[in-house]
Symmetry: C2
């Protein structure tokens, strides 16, 4: 089927190289959130740019993305710089830029750092076993709870911690857990995993049962999987779990884990989120 | 006492401004670790540079430091750039550079990003209550377990999860908890808190009871405290708790919480650490 449409994720991650590390891209309507692109797609784009760089070494270990401003619909440029290359590790900085208006000079909208490494097999172990939960087939998929595009790009099967059904300020904990994968299904790779690490609705909505304005300002993803493990995971569901630790004066943090269906921890992530009351 | 010596932390954080955002500094023997400066002092230095910048807005919310190479003993330069300033938030990138040898051009040894913000009072809550533990007075201070300088800069009162007493490969969990503060005591500020977020010995040593080579490659600190809360905390002890989630093919992650003695969560932190077997 050579005339098959590429997956929406691959369309969104398309970049045109102008020079090594200098790319142009375009925001994707398919991953649009309320006032800009879904944060996960921005993280995936940053990572995809590094991984396709001709000097890239190894596989991703850590990614931090800082959302300095909302991307506007349209073209952007992305600069990926290998700041330091060691024998088995490599440190990158990335900037995404966009003119704030027609004819204006570009300004920074996103900054990021990436660590890649040539990993080697060694003693390995987990201190975060996957919780015992019903299988994906036992957890019905839900329709998107909001009319935003990016929610249609994920098949979500909540296990616990659904969005509050009534916004009455009575909820009490910040944890939730769901089975999730790309929709339509797509074999997992590192950019897709980075995007999935941001798939949770804001913890303050659950903690407060109030739908206050909230947005991620910095996201860190640690990759524990290598490419072979991602290949074994394929297009299966991931169990994704998140909870907040502290809500304080306009910012809360959130920690998350993502396991494949076989129970292997693929990634852990952390973010700090702006909220307003 | 105008002839009083400044605190070792303040001596270590001394920077000379060459131009706005362009500083020179010098590694501190007082915070030396095995093959370079203690990672926490590098994090504190990055943050101190941003906070003293004439354009700095508000207080720190997030800090990510990437340790691309070990700093050598001697002078370094530090560049702090305000990449984007919004109404109430500001995004920074920082680089620390050093010539790899006499007469050679500078290369990047550390990259970092910092988010500062003018925080405002709002609804706040905690989802990570401080564990119930004996008071600092009930937990005897221990002498440094290794002959490295930085351990003498902290008063450590272990609560649980001491270093293995025998390196026999028999330990089973990765968690530890201690009361800790600067030694000598010093009123807490943001750079000091950033440094304290890295005060834990490598989790793999506890998990394996094997003293394998290990070193932090990326550290993220989220600050939940404002300056007023730090002032109330003063030079009191902090309860610092850390555990790993996954050890996989040469890297493990570690999550930590730091509360003041009144039980308020001041900071959460995350890091990814290289290990070798």
């Amino acid at each position: 089927m050579t005339d098959e449409q590429p997956h929406p994720l691959d369309q969104a991650l398309a970049l045109t190289a102008q020079a090594p590390g200098h790319y142009t891209g375009h925001t994707s309507a398919a991953y649009w959130n309320m006032v800009g692109p879904y944060g996960g797609i921005s993280a995936a784009t940053v990572l995809a740019a590094v991984l396709r760089h001709p000097e890239a070494l190894g596989e991703p270990v850590a990614l931090t993305v800082n959302y300095a401003a909302a991307l506007a619909e349209g073209a952007f440029t992305l600069q990926a710089v290998p700041e330091r290359t060691n024998r088995s590790t490599q440190h990158w900085t990335v900037r995404v830029l966009q003119p704030p208006g027609p004819g204006q000079p570009e300004t920074v909208v996103t900054t990021a750092t990436v660590l890649t490494a040539a990993r080697r097999e060694t003693w390995s172990a987990s201190d975060s076993p996957m919780p015992e939960v019903p299988s994906p087939a036992e957890c019905p998929a839900i329709a998107p709870m909001f009319p935003v595009q990016w929610l249609q790009r994920y098949e979500m099967r909540p296990v616990s911690g659904l969005l509050p059904q009534v916004w009455d300020g009575r909820e009490a904990d910040s944890a939730s857990c769901l089975w999730v994968r790309d929709a339509p299904p797509r074999p997992l790779d590192f950019p897709a995993l980075a995007a999935l690490a941001d798939v949770f609705y804001p913890r303050v909505w659950r903690r407060r049962a109030l739908q206050v304005p909230a947005g991620t300002v910095s996201l860190t993803v640690y990759f524990h999987a290598d490419a072979a493990l991602l290949a074994r995971t394929g297009s299966g569901h991931l169990l994704a779990q998140a909870r907040a630790q502290e809500f304080r004066a306009g910012f809360f943090d959130q920690s998350a884990q993502l396991w494949n269906q076989a129970g292997t921890l693929l990634a852990t992530s952390h973010q700090i989120v702006y909220y307003k009351e």
